[in-house]
């Protein structure tokens, strides 16, 4: 079919300009990881080199933040998978008074600005005398990671015919067999997608982490600090590439897993 109603040229140009504005800076970040100039980001770069990858590899101060970020992201993903799925199961299967309100409360953390979540958690921790640690970061991240998993799982639960659980019981399966053979396989890709997004979000989170981290720094916070002082600047760009790959690949996979159908993958953040 020929499309007769082409958009006006100016709209097309605007759209292209918008996309370039969004994505060119990312390419520049990649480019400066290879520059020979270590203090300023002058354009064009005076020369290209791959030495910064080696420098970054040998910098001892990169590794602890990287490990911390990976650990926090992995643990908050696991936590979100368990709690988010249970929440979704409860919301999808039963009708009770206040169900919609509770559902809204679960989703709220993702709509709240991170700075508010961070401030409230920080004051809560200090009132309760909870020392800042990996666990406080984890709890901060779980607030939005749960939402991601919840949104994905609840959409899948809604699409599943409720009677397949009954059919399984009817055919003689017990609760565990029903979960293992019927619920989990149908929920699987939604959980995988939700989990990957949660991981990606947690891995590059800055705001909530700043308020809940105490003395430790995660990789994004390390980068933020590093940008301030002009020493071996391209190392930051090398780390940026690593962060980009670690978060972009899961998001891409999540997108393909939930493509088609009315499923929410991102859910807004």
């Amino acid at each position: 079919m020929r499309s007769d109603n082409r958009p006006p040229l100016i709209l097309t140009a605007g759209a292209i300009a918008g996309l370039l504005f969004l994505h060119l800076p990312i390419l520049l970040i990649f480019l400066y990881a290879f520059t020979t100039d270590e203090r300023t980001y002058q354009f064009p770069p005076p020369g290209l080199t791959t030495q910064w990858f080696a420098v970054a590899w040998n910098r001892a101060d990169i590794w602890p933040p990287l490990y911390l970020s990976l650990r926090v992201a992995a643990l908050s993903t696991v936590m979100a998978l368990i709690l988010g799925t249970l929440c979704a199961a409860a919301m999808a299967r039963s009708r009770f008074f206040g169900r919609d309100q509770i559902s809204l409360l679960i989703i709220l953390p993702i709509a709240l600005p991170g700075i508010i979540t961070g401030m409230s958690l920080r004051s809560a921790f200090s009132i309760m005398d909870v020392p800042f640690s990996t666990w406080t970061i984890l709890m901060g991240h779980a607030t939005f990671c749960i939402v991601i998993v919840f949104n994905n799982a609840v959409a899948r639960f809604r699409r599943l015919s409720g009677s397949i659980v009954e059919a399984s019981l009817d055919l003689g399966a017990n609760g565990f067999q029903t979960f293992r053979h019927v619920i989990l396989p149908n929920l699987g890709s939604a959980l995988l997608a939700g989990g990957m997004l949660a991981f990606a979000l947690s891995f590059d989170e800055v705001i909530v982490t700043t308020f809940t981290a105490g003395q430790q720094s995660t990789l994004p916070i390390w980068m933020l600090n590093e940008l301030v002082r002009p020493r071996q600047r391209p190392v930051t760009n090398v780390v940026a590439i690593v962060v980009f790959v670690t978060t972009f690949v899961p998001i891409l996979i999540a997108y393909y897993l939930t493509r088609g159908g009315s499923e929410t993958a991102g859910g807004g953040k």
Partner: protein, 329 residues
């Protein structure tokens, strides 16, 4: 004859809603039992009481003599064909059918060959490797049937299984289900809101109204001798005569049902005379609506007999016993 399912004054109330209210019934082993009624009449709740997905708030339920109030659905020797088929979307047809054996721990070869036998029984031999999403409505229906039969249930429950099929397929499936039930000899409990389906397939029909059984009997009893006005209205296009009309036509002063095919158009000796209001050609005959004092009567004129013209005045007559007195209500 053994009783397969027995309800003793069974109730299921949801708060103030009496979904099932004091139902007593006996389903004999090997019968094709239909639960007929409009939506919300309690027939599906009754089925779920048998399968164990609902618990009664009062009364007793026995399956083959065994009280089954505390028996969970997965331990009852009954299986269900669900209204929406409830096939497992991630499994292929063979694995769907074999599911009941898999959860029992039957080894893969045995259970798959058994699944193939059942697929052959429902004439789906070559569809085993497909996913439910690739099948038509009628084929899914057959898979659901095969899956429910693999555990060799003594009672098979069918919840409006033909509701989602188009008319032609539904009729074909009616014949097949009936034949299958006779061949297997197991008890079928069939929920439907389609009176034609219930009458043509069942050995026994229970007509439900507002959580209670309005009448229980063979299709012929239900059709010819409806006990209440509700049954007469719901089961067929019967003439329902008010008490005054019935008395006027020489019957008892009680509401009565009168089958359209029992009414004859006559020249002389008419019980009542009236004017032809409308004609509806039905293929096997013509339905003639005649306005009579106090209401109208529907008359079925068999093909071959003369059909009066619209607006003509005709005399009507019927045998006294064709008028069946009913209870109020």
């Amino acid at each position: 004859m053994t009783t397969a399912v027995e309800f003793l004054n069974v109730s299921r109330h949801f708060g103030s809603i009496r979904a099932v209210d004091g139902v007593t019934l006996n389903i004999a082993e090997g019968t094709f039992f239909a639960m007929l009624g409009p939506s919300g009449s309690g027939k599906t709740t009754c089925l779920r009481l048998i399968s164990g997905f609902e618990q009664p708030t009062g009364g007793q339920i026995r399956i083959f003599g065994q009280d089954c109030i505390d028996v969970p659905p997965n331990r009852r020797n009954v299986n269900t064909v669900f209204q929406d088929y409830a096939l497992f979307p991630h499994m292929n047809v063979r694995d769907n059918v074999a599911y009941g054996l898999m959860v029992k721990g039957v080894d893969k070869r045995t259970r798959l060959s058994r699944a193939d036998e059942l697929l052959a029984l429902v004439k789906l031999d070559h569809h085993g490797s497909r996913k439910p999403g690739e099948l038509s409505g009628g084929q899914r229906q057959r898979v659901a049937l095969a899956r429910a039969l693999i555990n060799e249930p003594r009672v098979l429950l069918l919840d409006e299984p033909l509701g989602a099929l188009d008319l032609k397929l539904r009729e074909a499936m009616q014949d097949e289900l009936k034949a299958l039930q006779q061949r297997l000899g197991i008890t079928f409990v069939f929920v439907t809101h389609d009176q034609g389906e219930a009458l043509s397939m069942a050995d026994q029909v229970a007509v439900f109204s507002e959580g209670q059984i309005a009448q229980i009997g063979t299709p012929a009893e239900i059709y010819e001798k409806p006990r209440t006005r509700f049954v007469a209205d719901f089961v067929g296009s019967s003439n329902v005569l008010s008490a005054e009309m019935a008395a006027g036509f020489g019957g008892a002063a009680r509401p009565a049902s009168l089958r359209p095919e029992a009414v004859r158009i006559v020249e002389e000796g008419a019980c009542v005379r009236g004017r032809v209001q409308a004609l509806r050609y039905l293929g096997s005959g013509t339905r003639v609506i005649v306005a009579v004092p106090g209401g109208e009567l529907s008359v079925f004129v068999t093909k071959g007999l003369p059909v009066p013209a619209q607006g003509a005045e005709v005399g009507l007559n019927w045998d006294a016993q064709a008028m069946h007195p009913m209870e109020q209500g």
